[in-house]
């Protein structure tokens, strides 16, 4: 074969290779969506490569979006409470309600006032869980953990880790004082702050998910305030004594939603991805993602009995009734809460 023919063949192969190249979908997600076991079935079915970039905190996501070009991103996983603000900012594309199993979602997580803006659907609930108490049931009894007030008991001195996110944690403190999260105001915040400060003497550390999880797993602490299934479920197989519970005063319910970017050039494929994620199969894989476990939004998720037991599936009716969705304060109260939290860390 002469060199020209060889070169021509290579050129044609390269062109064909490019034209048949796998298409790609770019998703800005929480870390649970980075599990290949979750992405693989979708990638195989649609012959697509899903590129995922995980982030923590909507502020970080918005910065990433600001630094990107329109069309860079296709799918967005976001804290449900932030759906209205990102939709109003024109970041999310409208979705068709009929594309999703709306009737199969748990009623409490549908939250129409969050997922719909001016009557238009912008994001779909996909997963939820609780900011409550995680604990080592060898060292802290379930009976103790049913009452938030035991956190201040001297027997737990130095045995408590506090999840480092001021909104749910301050809301949990409010619950321990008989207030609902939405009852928090600038006027009663000083009393909540005082109660929070009193917790410091029992606190061994305040940390992010990995920090508090490691502390519980290594026996550094016995309780995580603000923890939940998302911290302990993934460790359950290794150490069944690591458990979680919703106390009688209730807990704070977090929730994540998934939508399509308004500037995406692959909206159809992106919508297919969203449909896969909220399907029974996608929901089971997402609920048990290697990054963290939590309840699927779809009540028909294909979970087995053991997985359901770890997620306390049968107790969900009571838990959903006795928990409060994240109450997001207005900017002024948010700033005061962050200030109280900073003082708590420095206290």
């Amino acid at each position: 074969m002469n060199i020209r023919v060889l070169g021509f063949t290579l050129f044609i192969s390269l062109c064909l290779g490019i034209s048949f190249a796998q298409s790609e979908l770019n998703a800005l997600v929480w870390c649970d969506h980075t599990d290949q076991a979750l992405l693989q079935p979708f990638e195989e079915k649609f012959n697509v490569k899903v590129n995922v970039k995980d982030y923590e905190g909507t502020g970080t996501a918005l910065s990433l979006i600001e630094q990107s070009r329109p069309g860079d991103w296709d799918v967005f996983v976001v804290d449900s409470v932030d759906v209205p603000r990102v939709a109003e900012a024109g970041i999310l594309a409208p979705l068709n309600e009929a594309d999703f199993p709306w009737d199969d979602f748990f009623d409490e997580v549908k939250l129409d006032d969050i997922h719909f803006v001016n009557g238009q659907l912008y994001a779909v609930p996909e997963k939820f869980g609780y900011n409550t108490l995680s604990f080592n049931n060898k060292n802290a009894s379930e009976a103790d953990m049913l009452d938030l007030n035991t956190l201040w008991d001297a027997k737990f001195e130095g045995k408590i880790a506090v999840y480092d996110y001021y909104i749910p944690t301050i809301e949990l403190i409010a619950l321990s004082m008989g207030m609902k999260p939405s009852d928090i105001t600038a006027e009663n915040l000083p009393q909540i702050k005082e109660r929070l400060f009193e917790l410091k003497k029992n606190t061994a550390l305040i940390g992010g998910v990995v920090g508090v999880q490691t502390a519980l797993a290594t026996g550094e602490v016995d309780i995580i305030v603000g923890g939940g299934e998302y911290v302990t479920a993934v460790l359950h197989e290794e150490d069944p004594s690591l458990d979680w519970i919703l106390p009688k005063q209730g807990g704070v319910r977090w929730q994540q939603a998934i939508g399509v970017f308004a500037d995406s050039e692959k909206k159809e494929l992106a919508t297919e991805f969203v449909k896969y994620i909220v399907s029974p199969e996608g929901q089971a894989r997402l609920a048990t993602s290697s990054c963290y476990w939590a309840m699927p939004a779809n009540s028909k998720a294909a979970l087995n009995d053991e997985q359901k037991a770890i997620l306390r599936w049968d107790e969900q009716p009571g838990y959903l009734a006795n928990s409060y969705p994240y109450y997001i304060p207005d900017a002024e109260l948010d700033a005061l809460m962050l200030e109280a939290w900073t003082e708590f860390l420095q206290y």
Binding site: T60, T218, E220, Q346
Partner: protein, 282 residues
């Protein structure tokens, strides 16, 4: 220098100048502008305001964070120097020259691993159920498990482990440049080994100590990872407070003001130590 030579010289330094301009001057200028803006609610309001700087001086927790950062950084620098100097001295004067290369390679081993992984490793080693606590219990020194992390001590141990090695390198590089004849001359004049060290070796190795100490100071005071992982967040250092501004609220103006204050502190330290910073000696 004629015009042609001048152009040639500018051509040679242009890449470095452009690099500095693009990745240092421009970002700092942007950060400075940001620091005078305001975050109001979910919006950043442009305009000139000193409110962020006023907030720094009026809020106790901001000032405490700076003092905590200074305290931790000074402690880390001093402890690291005290540990690194004997190590560098032994490497330079006691270890045969053909073993020095291997010894130096071992000294820089900690730099080969990821910073985050190294911090988490320390978390496991120093926890109540970690190898340090267990060993001390086995030796009968401790009766109960003791945790060395989630405290200032944890942060300092993590930092010292890293910076001792950095300082060892800068001090070693300085020590090997001191002519041995100086020590022989001191001995000839009747100085004991301790006197020779105190009056000859130590003063001549100050540039190495200062360069290492300055690098330690700069890297330590701006570090976020180590106090976040090993400190347990029970007291805040300034980089952690900066991150708190960005997290949920995306308050980049306040974060920029705090970052500039941190930079100002580093610049002051540089000015104080500048007369000793002879980079060509290390």
């Amino acid at each position: 220098m004629n015009r042609r030579e001048s152009l040639k010289a500018w051509g040679l330094i242009a890449p470095a100048l452009l690099w500095t301009l693009a990745f240092f001057v421009v970002p700092i200028a942007i950060m400075t502008v940001y620091s005078f803006w305001q975050r109001v609610g979910t919006k950043t309001v442009r305009g000139f305001s000193l409110d962020n700087y006023v907030a720094f001086f009026s809020k106790t927790y901001f000032r405490e964070a700076l003092f905590n950062s200074l305290e931790v950084t000074i402690l880390v620098t001093v402890i690291s120097i005290l540990l690194a100097y004997p190590l560098a001295y032994i490497l330079a004067y006691q270890v045969p020259s053909h073993w020095q290369r291997l010894a130096l390679s071992l000294a820089i081993l900690p730099f080969w691993t990821s910073y985050v992984v190294r911090s988490y490793s320390w978390l496991l080693v120093l926890s109540a159920k970690g190898i340090v606590s267990k060993s001390l219990q086995t030796l009968g020194i401790l009766h109960d498990p003791v945790s060395f992390v989630n405290s200032r001590m944890g942060t300092i141990i993590g930092f010292v482990h890293f910076f001792t090695m950095l300082l060892t390198l800068t001090i070693f590089a300085n020590l090997v440049q001191i002519p041995r004849n100086y020590l022989k001359a001191a001995a000839d004049l009747g100085a004991s080994r301790l006197q020779a060290f105190w009056h000859v070796t130590l003063p001549l190795s100050v540039p190495g100590i200062m360069v290492g100490a300055f690098l330690t100071f700069v890297l330590c005071i701006g570090d976020y990872i180590t106090p976040q992982i090993l400190g347990g967040n029970k007291e805040l250092l300034l980089p952690q407070v900066i991150m708190l501004q960005i997290g949920r609220q995306a308050n980049f103006p306040m974060a920029s003001a705090l970052s500039l204050i941190l930079m100002l502190v580093i610049s002051l330290v540089f000015l104080v130590s500048a007369r000793y910073l002879r980079l060509e000696r290390v």
